[in-house]
Structures are given as structure tokens and as C-alpha cells.
Amino acid sequence: MGAGNHQTPGLMKPKADMSVVDRILNGEIRAAARLIRDIEDGRPVAREALKTLYTSSGQAFVIGITGPPGAGKSSLADKLIEAFRGQGKKVAVVAVDPTSPFSGGAILGDRIRMNRHASDDGVFIRSMGTRGHLGGLSAATSDAVTVLDAMGWDIILVETVGVGQDEVEIVRTAHTSLVVMVPGMGDDIQAIKAGILEIANIFVVNKADRPDTDRTVRDLENLLDMNLPSEDEWRPPVVRTVALRQDGISELMEKIQEHRNYLLSSGRLARFEEEKSAQRFAELLKEGLFRQVHDRIQHEDRLKGILEAIVNKELDPYTAVDRILEEKLK
């Protein structure tokens, strides 16, 4: 987790003659904040900077926090920031909230629960709107994590939107994923297990001072027992917390450390990096090829004709694509 070759974020003064990348590697908050904005807004300059920053990333430990709305994800993040700060670690947070599909606007309010850390130079918090992206994160989230990682933050917390079912993306972004639940969801656990069992490395039953806590914990444990892991596999622990009262936070920190140790000792960390790299490469290749081909047929003013032929059933979309791709390969 150490980042010895990096400057402490926030301590360096800006220098006008430095490139964006140098300023970020130098720990300059404004430069990093701006680059994350450029990534979100799809600016070409961001892509250039990422090319360099990517090779400097890979030091940070990334923890995902997901779970239904109101489960207490932000409050838990707040306590985890405090606990990691207590260990002397520098902590960055990326918190994703939904963008309104009607106006395109968003109220990003995850900071409300963590903003006491805003005056701590060892903490960086960034809010993001989903901007139409499904899967619990925004399209820019993993690149933002790369920027913060390269910058030298030891711990990066990623808080998802909180729909509770469709958040598989966090698994490819975070080394350790926490799924936060609240008591009283007993029957619902059955309904959502398909999405959730695969995501969680650690289950957190927050608000564990509520009456249904024992049942929720038992239901989760039963579910996990049915999913018997092979001998070397990690069985997700179930941790009870009351984030607002600080209860259970030190146990949660222990479990996070245990999972990290497991990733290192089992070789899972290497596999995680392989899968993440393959995924990112495929995504970028897909995006790039699509843009290239699409731009070309649009530039040659053929898109309209092709679409008309498909509408009129003179051409089917499968043949249309095959032909375009054959041209492309020639």
C-alpha cells in the first residue's frame, strides 16, 4: 500500500511550466480535479494524459462500497476514511450518484456524510453523476481511479449509485467489494441474491441495532453456506456495523485487511489485474473500432442510405454490417 516514490498530495505548489501529468504526479489537486472533469466530459486531452498516468498506476488499494439506497454507504465510507487516516494512509473517494434521465442534471449529495474530512489534506473526495451509464458506476469512474492511483493515494474508496442489483462493474474496479445491507430485508435477500453473492467479498449489515438484525445475518450466512466455496476460496464474512455509532468498524477494517492478504497470498490479485486489463483493452478496442467505422461511413455520407435500405427491407442489418466489415479489412 505504500507509495514511497510519490509526493504527498496537496502539498505542492502549482508550477505553470509543468504538463498536466507532471502536475498530477506532483500531487497537485487542482490538476487532478480538472483532468477527472475532462475525462467525464470526454475531452481528447484526457485520453493523452491517461496514456502516461496508466503506467504509473497500480499502487493503490481500491475498495468498492455498494448496496441499496439508504443502507448507509456514505456513512460507512466516512468511518473507513477516519480509520485509514488513523493508520496514516491517504484516502481518496469517488462517490457516484444518479443523473436525472429527464434533465441530465444531478444532485450529488454523498459528501454530506463525509465532508468533515474536507479540511484534511490527506483526503480527496470526488462526486460523479452516472450520466446515463448503467451498472452502478459512471463511464469515467475507472479512469478517475487510475488518475488518483497514479497520484499516490494509498486507499481509494469507490461508492456506487446504490441500486442494489446491477452493480457488477464495481467488481472489476475494486480489489475488495463491500455489499452493505440493512436489517429487515430478510425475504428480499432471496430475490437479490443472484446479483449480490457474486459481488460481495465482505457483507456489511449496517444499522445493526435494529430488531431484524439477527435474522438478516442468519439469512445471509445460510445463503453463503449453500454456495460452498472450494478449499482455497474466500468465503465472504458478514460484519455487523452501526456506522453512526462507530460500532463494528474495527472488525470491518480487520476483514478488509484479511481479504487483501488473501488476494496477495492466493494469487487472486494477479488474476484481478489480468481480468481488468483484458476488460479495459476490449472496451477501448470496441469503442475505437466503432468510432472509426461509424465516422467513415458517416463521412462518406453512406449511413443514411444504408439505414433507408434496412428500413425498406431491401437490405438486412446483418448483411449491411458484414459488408462494411469486409470493406474495412481490405
Binding site: 480535479a33 480538472r34 477527472i36 466530459d41 434533465s103 441530465g104 442534471g105 454530506i112 479540511s119 470526488r126
Partner: protein, 134 residues
């Protein structure tokens, strides 16, 4: 190239007891298509300025009901300057007497909206005045 989305910080410095006005403004900004970062009650000027920088906002809007506006507005502007972020404009509103407005504007506050201002009016002003920083 895709267009920049406007990002605004809605913040409440000082000891105000409620944030209904700030929430109404935040919601109308969202409905106007802006991204609003909302931090909740009782923020220090330091927290507000650090938040503005980390979130890369295009403007900071402060809501103040406590009567401490003559101290809090200038303090936020001063801190932005200290942190090389004077390019982030500050505007705001709340229970602010007419006679204080000229002084606040002289201190660098771009606009002051008092009770009775419609959210449409504020949105129109934001659209005309605040540009995504490039």
C-alpha cells in the same frame, strides 16, 4: 467534442439551523440540467473551498441565513484566492439586508439573491453568467 456539463457547489457556511432554501435551489439546478454538489449544513469556509477545488466546480453558491454573510462570503473568496482558485466565481443568497449587498459585491460576490427571488430567475442568471471553465 462533447459539451461540458456545468458543475455547481451549493454550500451552507456557518451555523444555520435549516437548509430548505438551499435544497430548493439545488433541486432547481438539477432540473435545469446542472450537476450540483451539495455538502449539507454547517460547513467551514475551508471545507467549502477544498470541496470546490476537489469537485472542479464552475461556481460556488452560498446560502446564508444566520446574518454572518459579511464575514463568510469574503472569507470564502479570500481562501479561493489563497489556493490559486480565484477563477471560481462566488454567488449566493439568503436573508441579506439590501444595504449589505453593495459591500458584498465590492468584495467579489457576483450576485446576491434575496428572499422572494424565483428559482427561474436564479437559473436564468446562472445560464447567462456562469460558463464551464475551459
Amino acid at each position: 467534442m462533447s459539451e461540458r456539463k456545468l458543475r455547481l457547489l451549493v454550500a451552507k457556511p456557518g451555523l444555520d439551523g435549516h437548509d430548505r432554501g438551499a435544497k430548493i435551489v439545488a433541486r432547481s439546478f438539477r432540473d435545469a440540467g446542472f450537476e450540483v454538489i451539495y455538502t449539507g449544513l454547517r460547513q467551514t469556509p475551508e471545507q467549502i473551498v477544498n470541496t470546490a477545488i476537489q469537485e472542479d466546480v464552475d461556481a460556488v453558491s452560498l446560502s446564508i441565513l444566520s446574518g454572518a454573510h459579511n464575514t463568510l462570503f469574503p472569507r470564502v473568496i479570500e481562501l479561493l484566492r489563497e489556493k490559486d482558485a480565484a477563477d471560481i466565481p462566488v454567488f449566493g443568497g439568503g436573508i441579506i439586508p439590501e444595504e449589505d449587498i453593495a459591500g458584498l459585491k465590492a468584495a467579489g460576490v457576483l450576485a446576491v439573491f434575496t428572499p422572494g427571488t424565483s428559482t427561474e430567475e436564479i437559473n436564468r442568471w446562472v445560464r447567462e453568467t456562469i460558463r464551464p471553465r475551459d
